[in-house]
Symmetry: D2
Subunit: 442 residues, 4 copies
């Protein structure tokens, strides 16, 4: 809403749909404050509803951003695998936790797709929910004609990191991250930069320089323990990004906390191994704490104060690109950026139809992928495996089939426990999801 308020080219109605109507209404209040802020350059009417059809009718753009199930389920996605020996740093995208979350989210997204095609088939749908890939994939599986894409800011972080390298090694002012042109290829949270330039200058030699510094890959356990103690769960040192570059010649292009979940190398030794790389795992208690915020009046007040906090001072851009994308789709300025879309050749080696993350052109009523550089063979295999697990998970969700869900899980890079243990884990996870697993025999 802040980004919207700061853009003088758009106006209209913003309808907030939530199954928790009071929550939507709280956000209406926030919205009103934002749009009446002195910095605001436009205004939007903000309404709330818990009726999906009401929200969709007449919509031009639809932003999907949900929590698939209560936060207790998110906590389970972390705790149950951990009990069976599988540590996850985030647990919302891949790994047993990501699969569990996907099986909750996919049917909701099937419904979204059908309702959208019923009420506003020409609207553009922008997904922000994780698991990004499978949510976007589910929209297309349900309604192949839908105009949807998924957005994620993880690549921006890699661009910023490269901008810092430019500043440091070329001794210039730090460029804006948008000036760093990257060729991106992979799936969300497991994307890879295969080429990076700034003003036509290739940047991988700067990466070489950076990681060639003495002690660059030294043990970061101390840093990690401090970070954990300070509960700064989202900090990391980009060592995984760089380590992947060191091994494969292409740069991991998501946050380290995500990257480690797509390969078996950093997490299967447990927290100790992980901390050596300067990455910490978000504890489930933190996820649950967020939950409490919403439920105690005191915390609500605090949460809203935080939000208001921003608005009391100046309004600030969030750094997300949603508004720029909308503008480009409305024909107001071209935009080329990374996005999640069904594969139509942008990653030539992967199956058509699976959702991948690459650059795309945003133009008037059109979002079209740009072909990406081929990935090195070893990286391609890592990515293909993830795609295959996602497609199996989709299949399991469509057929509501436990054996398929287990088979998908056994193919997941983090799952190196015995099959009977894995079966037990999946049974517990799905049991814990029970309220959202309509039609499954569990």
């Amino acid at each position: 809403m802040t980004d919207l308020a700061l853009c003088d080219q758009l106006t209209g109605t913003l309808c907030l749909y939530d199954i928790d109507l009071p929550a939507a209404k709280r956000n209406v209040k926030v919205g009103k404050e934002v749009f009446s802020h002195p910095d605001a350059r436009t205004t939007f009417k903000v309404t709330a509803t818990d009726d999906l059809a009401t929200a969709l009718k007449g919509a031009d753009f639809i932003f999907l951003s949900i929590q698939p199930g209560p936060l207790t389920m998110f906590a389970n996605d972390l705790d149950i695998p951990l009990k069976h020996g599988i540590l996850q740093t985030v647990g919302d995208t891949t790994g047993p936790g990501g699969i569990s979350r996907s099986l909750r989210a996919i049917p909701i997204y099937f419904d979204f797709a059908h309702e959208i095609m019923k009420h506003c088939p020409d609207a553009w749908v922008i997904n922000y929910t994780n698991p990004m890939t499978l949510c976007t994939r589910a929209l297309y599986a349900a309604e192949p004609e839908i105009k949807a894409f998924g957005c994620c800011h993880e690549v921006f972080g890699t661009q910023s990191m490269l901008a810092r390298l430019v500043e440091k090694h070329l001794e210039v002012d730090k460029p804006d991250r948008r000036e760093i042109k990257v060729d991106v290829s992979g799936v969300n949270h497991f994307t890879w930069v295969t080429e990076a330039t700034w003003g036509g200058r290739e940047l991988f030699d700067l990466v070489d320089k950076e990681i060639g510094e003495p002690g660059f890959f030294d043990d970061l356990t101390e840093w990690s323990e401090k970070t954990l103690a300070e509960e700064k769960y989202f900090n990391n040192c980009s060592r995984i990004k760089y380590d992947l570059y060191r091994r494969f010649g292409v740069l991991g292009a998501a946050g380290d906390r995500h990257l480690v979940e797509f390969v078996p190398w950093y997490l299967s030794g447990g927290t100790e191994t992980l901390h050596r790389w300067g990455v910490v795992a978000t504890p489930s208690s933190f996820r649950l704490a967020l939950h409490d915020i919403k439920n105690t009046p005191k915390d609500q007040a605090k949460a809203e104060a935080t939000k208001k906090g921003a608005s009391e001072d100046a309004l600030h851009h969030t750094g997300e690109e949603g508004i720029d994308q909308m503008l480009a789709i409305l024909g107001r300025g071209d935009l080329d950026t990374n996005v999640n879309l069904p594969n139509m050749g942008q990653i030539a080696e992967l199956p058509l139809g699976c959702v991948v993350e690459t650059n795309a052109q945003f133009r008037r009523d059109s979002v079209r992928p740009i072909t990406s550089n081929p990935l090195p063979d070893p990286v391609f295999m890592l990515v293909y495996r993830v795609v295959a697990v996602q497609e199996m998970t989709l299949q399991a969700a469509m057929e509501k089939d436990f054996d398929l869900a287990l088979a998908a899980t056994l193919n997941d890079p983090l799952v190196n426990i015995p099959t009977d243990r894995a079966a037990m884990m999946m049974r517990e996870l799905l049991q814990a999801n029970k309220d959202m697993m309509r039609g499954w025999k569990l």
Copy 2:
């Protein structure tokens, strides 16, 4: 050179390489006139050489535009097939004539590629020679790391045609053809527009309107005979473009004279059938006449007068995009346009590596294809067949193998004569090319 003279952002040296040094020198003279014209906004030093290495050393951009063999050979490419019952309208791209020409051009392009990688591996290579696809393909077959692409203005004509439909049916001023956004897919001279918009408005309903007009597809024999009598060989009525749209739902996106050569439907009935569609075939005598221009002093004078003609009055843009492409590659303004490049997924269904024509992004030191809409199955098969014939022709050129050349020819859409007749025809064609078929056993 005119386009270059009209662009104020570039300067430098233009070295004209020709195996016929006097011809190059004549063009130096033309160049000097152009750059000293009062309209010129920049100047270039113009030199001539018949030594390739001299031309290449230090080059930033290389424009390839040659006649593969003397014009007598071009005439043979038309006359010999005609003798065996195969009529061709152009004969420089496909059909037996196109194959014959390809077999002459490919080894020359192999040499170009090797010399370029030896003398200026970082230079960008822009091909304008026909057969466009196989010339560009040969560069990559010889030197996979070359930075080359092929340019052709045929799609521009389709954009102009759509602009005229906008003017006529929407009753507005005719937009510039660049405002007509088209999704392009296929191979050079056999490209297809699968989607066209103007300011976000889809345009295929205008095409429907146009071809729905009474008598739209009426017999054009009279027009054709008049055109032939007036020697206006390059005129046509776009009926083929539209007829392909009528049958397949996507628009043929090259001139009719090219399109008819890629399918067996319009040419195998001879001139009479062809004329019904408002297309005329260029006679070989016309090609030979061009030849004479170069060789008689009088015609030379006339030819140069023609060229000068332009420069005596104002300098005019040619409508080609070469300069814009150079500027974009130099980082001076983004450009998205259609271009011929090896397939890296832009046409997902075709084999990787074959050269295709789609849209691409021109950016600083980068030309990257944009994924295109899938072609309808029947059109895909038409295109795939052409690609296959081209790959077989390349193979024949690499192995200098008559049987492969014949096998390629037998797969060509225009070849519906008995195999013994086709063998005789190919033998005559290659015999006529003898001086340029080094290493072949003929």
Copy 3:
């Protein structure tokens, strides 16, 4: 029935289903004579029905052999294209006539498939009807779990021809055609022998010897005209088989009358060109004459006399392999032979699922394709194109869509007439099929 009668390992009931019950009853009579013949080594109960369910219930094997539509329609399949300039020799497999026939046959085969899966899902289905490929394909398109395959004796002829070469050039007794081992690849009536051996000895050098004989490819017009005058429409000289070998290095493995219909080289010059190769086209009048046989009592008598003729003397094997295949499926002896089946890798370069002809293993309750040698590129393209036309034809039949049917036709190798002419032709063909085109808008 003769083959069945000559096999002492099988007995049971043979139920003849026909929409023309009297015809079925006439065949019951023939059957009874066959099984009571002194040479018969077994007996079968022979019954007739015009109720499909009755025929199917309890069936172990189902032989499908129908005429898709009355013979007048078969005649139209020849006459209408001819009127528009397209000569066909057979007209039951490919070309406009084959497409027309396919569009009649496919819906019948959809019904067969559904009824079989309803009444006897474990039965094996053996198709003998042309168009072989599309009939078999339709069974699988309708019911993917069906156990069906298609049989054709054309390859046997090629084996016999090779056996004669062995006799002639190796100066031994002519071996049985089953001793000639061939690797077969393609689609029915457009199959290719890529390798042939006899007792381990490769045979292509004999083919080289044969075609190297002086005058081997001389003009056969005289022979053809004599053959035509004598109404020996099914004779041919195998020159096409050999000519394809000469051009592509692999042997055309169906009768010449079929082979010429899959390429544009022999038929588009009309009868004159065709006759030069020793091939004659069956006139539609001959097809209609067959029709009359069934309808005049006198001809019926004659036809039955013909059939009886055989039975008056000794019973003879037909040379078909149906009984051997049944025996192998019943576990009585292994059999490896060529057969039409959905592609599951036997022709690695073609799409999975399309029906192709290769060798297969017949074993107890199993028919499994054997991988075939890759086809040379130019032949692969010829075959792929045919497969594509067949898949488009299936699509047209499923969607009952005239435009798709026309688009398929335009891709057919024989169709080199203008698109408007082709559209007229297809409209006439489908109009003539009207009674069998339920659901089509024509």
Copy 4:
């Protein structure tokens, strides 16, 4: 040699090539005893050489069975990974040990291929060396025209196991394992039975019955510890075979000791986890002990005594199929069995050219793969990943590139240690192979 001696259809010379000539000579002695044994039904001249050309000249069949490097290296292949936390049961096919062994074997096999094509290009080459897949693959990578295949008895064990199920559950005499027809698909030691029949009866319901017995998957730690104590390293309980069936619906078709190395589920918990499944890991000391046998005179005597042992009593068939395969190739009886060959479509979903294990037809001078059933998606992904690691290993061997070798290793299913640890491990492994890593920079 025993099998050869027991076959009355073959005779000739058996030339034993060994780089250790005394070893070859010892085997000549063994051979002479075997062929002079009263049970012998034929005789062969047995000679020894350490000159490869001498061995190859005039050969009809070549059996390749080597130890790629001294047994100390085999021991390293187990010990070094173990030191870094990776337990392997066999270590000769996959995992870091298998990759290390492959990098030693591949260049030897390149040499074999070149020498064979030089001295006896028409000979059939039968490989028995592990890593089976990569040794066979290397032959074809070096010499695409070679006539080679790889043989392994692991599938026979699965057939025997199924034969025991037939005996037990159908209460009949145990059938010969050859009567159990299996469809096999995968890569050597990671093959899968997708269908099994006995006399036409499907057998998977017997597997269901078997694993449905109470306590079937109970903990086998006790059994394993006893087995280990008794040094019966090659025993196992087939629980992995069955567990894979339980999870994926298709049967693991190699010994459990191999199967566990291709997935991360059973070994990454160390010996304890492994023992629960009734599998024990061969200790490196056992491999070294074999080594000593060859080197101490006493053990040599013992070893020869063991060999002689067999010959003192009756000669027994080994259960290998080599002789039957030779006979079939010589035209003496057809054979269909499983074998390792380059993929030409037998596993349609895998890349062409990679070496896979499926059924094949052995016929006169021909070994041709039979198409296999598609694998379930989750199993396909497991297999594809193994294939990809093998192809990367081949690439690393060809380019002698440490980074590629490491990248292959990181993709291996057993490698779940940090990348720096894995790099250290690979460096130590290759260092230990140093004498056999000519041309590598280590």
